[in-house]
């Protein structure tokens, strides 16, 4: 019997080691697995490489990891936003390394990892400082940059509903990086608002099939 449901947030993040590369879903405040990130914080895990679109805002989730000095490196497209105080403080002090990646390249690098590809050539970033040091090849007359896959040891994802096989559906634009990250990590942990019975999710609208999911935990809706 397959049952990927776990009973607590602590159980959901158990065993995630120091030094792990963690893919954290979300775009701005939409679709961020806040409770899972806080469970990781509570567990004491440190020396993390965090891959996420923004670098957190205010005092929650990724910003809290930065505040507590749990992050060694952040890989993201847009670390500067309203309230990204902790990122900016740690970055200015040289305490966190930043790898800035164009947003589509960030997503596609994770997709490449998920798909077992060794990388891809894209015109995005060609002739810019973000391509410095990277292999360039002219394809169809256009300069393309070689980008490498970006796998995670762990993905933390927020979805709306899951069944015990880990099939997922999301809510509105909170889907964002979830499906790609879920497929790109060795251990994928998902927080949902609701568990449903096997068979209850319409197979025509399942967004992330359970093959990509290892653990699901229910939060929020009591």
């Amino acid at each position: 019997m397959i049952d990927k449901r776990v009973a607590s947030l602590a159980e959901a993040v158990a065993g995630i080691p120091d030094g792990a590369t963690v893919l954290v879903g979300g775009f701005g405040a939409s679709g961020v697995p806040v409770e899972l990130v806080h469970a990781l914080l509570d567990q004491g895990t440190t020396d993390l490489t965090v891959v996420t679109n923004n670098a957190g805002s205010g005092e929650t989730d990724v910003a809290a990891l930065l505040r507590e000095r749990r992050v060694r490196k952040i890989v993201c497209s847009y670390p500067r936003s309203t309230g990204s105080v902790w990122f900016e403080e740690r970055w200015r002090a040289g305490e966190v390394e930043l790898e800035l990646v164009p947003q589509g390249t960030l997503s596609e690098r994770m997709r490449a990892a998920a798909a077992g590809l060794g990388g891809f050539f894209t015109p995005t970033g060609a002739d810019t400082r973000l391509a410095e040091g990277k292999e360039v090849r002219v394809i169809d007359g256009r300069r393309h940059v070689l980008e490498e896959p970006l796998p995670g040891d762990v993905a933390l994802v927020k979805a709306a509903r899951a069944d015990r096989w880990g099939n997922l559906v999301y809510r509105t634009a909170a889907r964002n990086f979830g499906p790609t990250m879920a497929a790109a990590a060795a251990l994928t942990v998902v927080q949902v608002d609701e568990f449903v019975e096997l068979g209850e999710l319409d197979p025509e609208v399942v967004v992330t099939p359970g093959i990509f999911v290892d653990r699901v935990v229910r939060v929020g809706a009591a």
């Binding site: 775009f27 847009y78 670390p79 990646v101 894209t122 995005t124 634009a173």
Partner: protein
């Protein structure tokens, strides 16, 4: 130097909106370009794309009706129109990078006469760099329109022979709409198509670092 007839950016947005064909799939960059959505006539059906996985994005919701998960690229609350769809990030950027988005309207710090765009970094080392989806959109949209003031607040030209700011993408800009003129990027550099009423071509050249040529059928930029 007199720069008569300088438009406000809402008038520039109205001019950009007139060039967006009915039925287009459009991504509007954050900031000024979002003004364009308010100026597109109701006779046109335009599908707005947002990099975080939305097609058929609608206007801001009524106060109190905001959904914190349903936001645009600028992280502002939006709505979904009938016929709209949600999809994940990699597909959202596949649409941008794979040439599926018909056109984009972007802001700019500088545009070069070769169509190079600089709109993501100013080399201010006191702030961390941030790029978001700017490079993907500039490279991938089928048509790249730039909407910008003709000069900076300090009066520095933004249309230049070569960008001094870090590039977003090389050779991508098709057309530039400023508060003074509409210019196409051609193999011979900037070609002025329209100018605001009462402006002398020499004065426009004076406000532009790149060399301008003027179209044989140069027209007056209609701000209405």
């Amino acid at each position: 130097m007199s720069l008569e007839g300088r438009l406000d950016m809402r008038a520039v947005a109205r001019r950009v909106a007139r060039d967006i064909p009915d039925g287009s799939y459009v991504n509007l960059g954050i900031g000024l370009p979002t003004l364009v959505a308010d100026c597109v006539g109701s006779d046109k059906e335009i599908v707005y794309h947002s990099e975080n996985g939305i097609l058929g994005m609608g206007p801001a919701p009524a106060p109190g009706a905001e959904d914190p998960e349903l936001i645009n690229a600028g992280k502002q609350p939006v709505t979904l129109l009938p016929g709209g769809a949600f999809f994940h990030h990699t597909d959202a950027f596949l649409m941008m990078r794979g040439g599926h988005v018909d056109l984009t309207v972007l802001g700019a710090f500088q545009v070069s006469e070769a169509g190079d765009l600089a709109n993501w970094a100013t080399d201010d080392a006191s702030h961390p760099p941030a790029v978001g989806g700017a490079m993907d959109l500039a490279v991938g949209a089928r048509r790249v329109l730039v909407m910008t003031s003709h000069t900076t607040k300090a009066g520095e030209p933004k249309l230049v022979p070569r960008c001094s700011y870090p590039l977003t993408a090389a050779g991508v800009v098709d057309r530039v709409y400023t508060d003074l003129a509409v210019l196409d990027v051609t193999t011979e550099g900037f070609l002025v198509r329209e100018m605001v009423a009462g402006l002398d071509p020499d004065d426009l050249q004076g406000a532009t670092a790149a060399r301008l040529t003027f179209a044989a059928d140069l027209a007056v930029l209609d701000p209405s």
